[in-house]
Symmetry: D2
Subunit: 199 residues, 4 copies
């Protein structure tokens, strides 16, 4: 049996660049897994190419900033437009899905954004993969440098100080967490692809 | 002490008219409570007048169709733009808030939309009022005509058959449920206003 | 390569028997997929055998009635006790997970129970599979007999009239929907298992 | 018109004492508002007295640790048992409600617990009050000492390092945030009570 490959699309919106950096880290984490390729798919303009690239992907990792408690309006416009994929016999059925989000507060209703994304992916018949990493920064001897420092599992969270530009935030620790999500999605997708080929 | 009045704004988006009918029922239910006035505030265009009317309201009832698992993109664009109200010392602080949503399925992730709205209202420092009505249509002798036939409490739900125009859906039962939410919000808002006057 | 098998555990609590019937339908749906075996694991008593059977499973489908807006206390006690599995290097990591719930109302906050289960499974590092079935009973020509008549994708919902015993509720339509969830989980798990063997 | 009083009950469960400290801070914050009295109602044993005290309260603030993604099983057993209050014509209808939770991670699915509590309170016909405090600790010049350092509005969050006893965690900053929730609930409840008296 030939080795499968896994094509991972990171479909994201970023308002001020912070979530874009998180997206790049997710993609880098995915691409570092042998057999996986990753591509960034910005959602600012919903061109035909966007839909083609997402349609060709084996996994789609959704990302958006959390604004006023849920994913950004640009992301939501994308989710809404994806109804045409949904209507065509669940065009994304059985693709692997995951999610990430950034905001300025530590918790900051980011979980609500991840739930929104998971509920959205479930409507598409996708399979949801989260973060299999213990919470960091959760003991008196722990460090802000810990992986998964915010403690999130449904997807990856990042926190960016409101006064820092995207060059300086989110911190490296959150980018490593984003990369861990990308790597996990790639690994699970490859397993999934191998399983489909073997069938 | 003079009698207070309560000004109830129904801030809504409707894609095909079904949610607009639900909005009208909410407003009618509110307006039927002595001392309350209700107004419809469509969110399709976010003019200065929209923000002025919402700022002047004592209660805001949010409404949107559920599309792909969460409130419509038009609603989300409104929620996001409201950050300017949020940034001005929580301009909507202590207003009463509530929510409603329509979609074609019976359950259909509508609860996720209501949670999105409640989380959004909490960021604004608003006070959330739901539906204090037992579930209808939940016994073998019950009827689709029961109030709250879908069983929702965080807000009001309506269901519109996908092939019916807004003249025919949602059914009367869901419009009566919407009116019950409007009436409750008006009643609670009046109590709240009386309490503020008496302070 | 030899054919893999998939062991599907249906870990459930039932208060009055309705959710047990749903659990049986989920298990039957899973067992009907060639290569899959399914077993019912009631959670009323958390014996060593319960943990052994769940530990040996390739997929765990969680089920509980929705009581007062979330999964039953018996289910929650199980979820809480599973911390010992979680603490042992994420003992359920990479298992497939899914969920189902029953209550008397059509919508009835059942989605909140499914979100609770998905969030719980994500903490365990499990991979979440939902229902890839269009909403039924959502057009004027549609029928209560439609698959997925309540419109749920994160997991399977059933509705049981409050005055009917478990012999008479939930209706067949919801049991067929439960079976569809079981079948999908078995299919995805087999693919996942094949992929692991091929690695 | 005589001055009203507001009776605030803090109905909580604590596993290891950390949430109990948070509960005490909530109660102290409420009691510091002129006209309000606050009482702690532990939920470990659901005696008749528990139900009587909650029935006599004007507001109930719910609290529990977040275990495996949702409120503790002891809290859930309480929520489930409250069905008898629900069944008696919504015995808690129009009471003010709020919620708080503690866990070891910064975000840590605590929002899911607060959503569970808000959904639960909505079933009871209660009116939900959150935290009207901007997010702290969200700029490069900000401090862990900021009020609402975790950024939560649906209710109050606390974070306790896993290796610290309840004497040392949660930190003072989270206890001040808890007190702010208690104070806000007391203030809103007094307004609500004045409004009822004036009717």
């Amino acid at each position: 049996m030939s080795n499968p490959s896994a094509r991972i699309a990171v479909a994201y919106h970023s308002g001020f660049g912070h979530t874009a950096r998180q997206a790049e880290a997710v993609a880098a984490g995915a691409a570092a897994v042998p057999g996986a390729v990753a591509e960034l798919v910005p959602l600012d303009e919903l061109t035909d190419e966007v839909w083609e690239r997402l349609g060709a992907a084996d996994a789609i990792i959704f990302g958006a900033p959390t604004y006023m408690g849920s994913p950004s309006a640009v992301f939501k416009a994308f989710a809404e437009a994806s109804v045409k994929v949904w209507a065509a016999d669940l065009g994304w059925r059985d693709k692997i899905a995951a999610g990430f989000t950034n905001s300025k507060a530590m918790s900051g209703d980011k979980l609500n954004s991840l739930v929104d994304m998971a509920v959205f992916a479930a409507q598409h018949g996708m399979i949801w993969v989260g973060l299999d990493v213990y919470p960091g920064w959760a003991e008196s001897t722990a460090s802000i440098e810990d992986l998964n420092r915010l403690g999130s599992w449904l997807g990856a969270m990042a926190q960016s100080d409101a006064d820092l530009s995207a060059e300086k935030a989110p911190p490296e620790t959150d980018l490593r967490t984003a990369a861990a999500l990308g790597a996990r999605v790639a690994t699970v997708t490859l397993r999934h692809q191998r399983g489909s080929l073997a069938a």
